[in-house]
């Protein structure tokens, strides 16, 4: 009886893993099947010569270039906002915070990490409403608001990976520089952070992935279906994940739908690359550093 039960468990476990693999493979192959044919220079730049598009000599209307540029700008801004703040907050959490304050902040950052992205988007949208009432000028949903909201969304992950990285430094190494007369800040800057750099970088890269894929936040804070290249913080913009969502519900012809599949492949490749880079950094750097 027991033996049959154990066999059943083994069978079911392997079945589960194989099922997940099968679903994953069918998802990937379906994407390639529907969109593979369209992946290429034309997908990005349409009928405009790539060089002209990159030099902003001609605008791309039938390619993904504006959406890619929009996502790129958005991620750059959001990460630029979140990393300094997150790094500083993470250092505080690991090195300075104590007792109830630490507990409270940890809980708050956990809540922030768990907040549905649509709620963060709603907060960003509310911010635009408030700003709009305060300065009844022309401020509406725009790239800056989206970047702020996305930065806020990834902030807890940056804080957390910084904190974890610092806290995992072995006590012996932690105290060496201090014993030699280094200040606390010098110790953090020249010993603690450099030793745990791979963990930190890994965390940041995963945060980039999150910033690049999120759709719900930007949907509420300034992404539009058609805007051209982003040129100002106060303008609306296009983005790759929103483009995919938009196409899924309102492609006008088979060509547009195929471009939607192409865009999905592109976004997937970007996210996969980020994962691989994070993985490699963690592996190689931590191996090199473990020699210390």
């Amino acid at each position: 009886m027991r033996r049959w039960f154990e066999r059943g468990i083994v069978f079911w476990s392997w079945g589960s893993a194989v099922l997940l693999l099968a679903i994953l493979l069918s998802l990937l192959s379906y994407l390639v099947y529907r969109g593979g044919g369209v992946v290429g220079i034309g997908l990005v730049f349409g009928d405009v010569p790539p060089f002209d598009a990159l030099l902003l000599r001609r605008q791309v209307f039938s390619g993904l270039f504006p959406a890619i540029a929009g996502t790129f700008a958005l991620v750059l801004l959001a990460v630029g906002l979140a990393v300094p703040v997150g790094l500083a907050a993470g250092i505080f959490m690991a090195e300075y915070a104590e007792g109830q304050i630490k507990w409270l902040l940890t809980v708050l950052f956990d809540v922030l990490a768990g907040l549905p992205s649509i709620v963060v988007g709603l907060a960003g949208f509310s911010l635009t409403l408030i700003l709009h009432q305060m300065f009844p000028g022309r401020l509406g949903p725009c790239l800056l608001i989206s970047a702020l909201a996305i930065g806020f969304l990834i902030l807890p992950y940056v804080i957390h990976s910084t904190q974890m990285a610092l806290e995992s430094v072995p006590p012996a190494l932690r105290r060496t520089a201090l014993a030699l007369g280094a200040t606390r800040l010098e110790n953090i800057r020249q010993v603690l952070l450099p030793t745990r750099l791979p963990d930190l970088l890994g965390g940041v890269i995963l945060a980039i992935g999150r910033a690049a894929e999120d759709t719900a936040v930007i949907m509420l804070t300034g992404v539009v279906a058609s805007a051209g290249l982003p040129r100002s913080l106060f303008e609306q913009f296009e983005a790759l994940p929103f483009y995919i969502y938009y196409i899924s519900s309102q492609y006008a012809d088979p060509r547009e739908l195929q471009m939607g599949f192409g865009a999905a492949i592109l976004l997937l490749v970007v996210c996969a690359l980020l994962l691989v880079i994070a993985f490699i950094i963690q592996q190689t750097l931590s191996r090199r550093l473990s020699r210390f």
């Binding site: 079911w12 998802l27 549905p116 709620v119 993985f279």
Partner: protein
């Protein structure tokens, strides 16, 4: 000096988290003062009759996420068994990589593929109707939350001291026995945490339900009914008149989701004393 900057950054981040709650409370305030809050929680959504209840969305969210959990739990647990113990070492790593890759797939891509692959199948073979329903959405959500749960389950299962594992090996125990009688019994806190975390993820997702659940405003009676979640409701009603009650009601949705997140975080703290940022 620099310590002050670090403190400022941390406090500001914490303050902003609270500010989000306060902001939604302020903007949704008319809901509370007019004594309608309760009516909104339990009522139906008929904007043309001045009824702005979000009860159908509450039911929708609950149904979608619980169903997703039910589909995902067995598969995730099984996969976690494989990763933790059953597979030989190199294979273990491969499955783990697969799980990590799945966690990195953008949500919108799951939804996009499901629209063209799963929805027609559901319509013609399984549920009838339009194929856009609670069941479709929860199946895809199950896939979305699986990596999260697997990571929690695996870390719980591997939480056993090496010498106990070696002891089982030495006694001639097969891997499955080690798993069932040594690793599983002590992994319950992590497994519970993984389940709560999975539920939280499912409840918080917008795109999948927006794209696949149909978005009807009737309270769903069955899994094959079209339904709308709280998150999708926010995305759909954001376009309404800013001054109207209809628009205010999305702040009620936002507040509910916020409170729900806070509860999830507290439960996780109680059970394993660990953070949500792990996955």
């Amino acid at each position: 000096m620099s310590a002050h900057i670090f403190r400022l950054a941390a406090f500001a981040s914490g303050f902003l988290t609270i500010a989000v709650f306060v902001m939604m409370l302020v903007l949704g305030w008319p809901l509370f003062t007019s004594g309608q809050f309760f009516a909104i929680l339990t009522g139906e959504w008929r904007p043309s009759n001045e009824l702005f209840g979000i009860f159908p969305m509450l039911v929708g969210s609950a149904l979608v996420s619980v169903l997703a959990l039910c589909f995902s739990l067995p598969v995730s647990l099984g996969t976690a068994f494989v990763v933790a113990t059953l597979a030989p070492r190199p294979l273990r790593r491969a499955v783990q990589l697969m799980v990590r890759f799945m966690a990195g797939i953008p949500t919108v891509i799951y939804g996009f593929v499901a629209i063209f692959l799963l929805v027609p199948f559901m319509r013609e073979q399984l549920t009838g109707g339009s194929g856009l329903n609670i069941l479709t959405a929860s199946l895809v959500l199950a896939l979305l939350i699986a990596p999260t749960m697997i990571v929690f389950f695996v870390s719980g299962l591997q939480n056993v001291e090496e010498r106990y594992r070696l002891a089982v090996d030495a006694l001639g125990g097969r891997p499955v026995q080690k798993l069932l009688y040594l690793q599983l019994p002590q992994a319950w806190p992590e497994i519970t945490a993984g389940i709560i975390m999975g539920l939280g993820r499912a409840m918080g997702d917008t795109l999948i339900s927006l794209m696949l659940a149909g978005n009807s405003v009737a309270a769903p009676q069955a899994a094959v009914d079209s339904g709308r979640t709280l998150t999708a409701h926010i995305a759909l009603v954001i376009a309404a008149d800013f001054d109207g009650m209809q628009f205010k009601s999305i702040f009620a949705c936002g507040l509910i989701l916020y409170v729900f997140t806070a509860i999830v975080v507290m439960l996780l703290r109680l059970i394993i004393g660990r953070s949500m940022c792990q996955v």
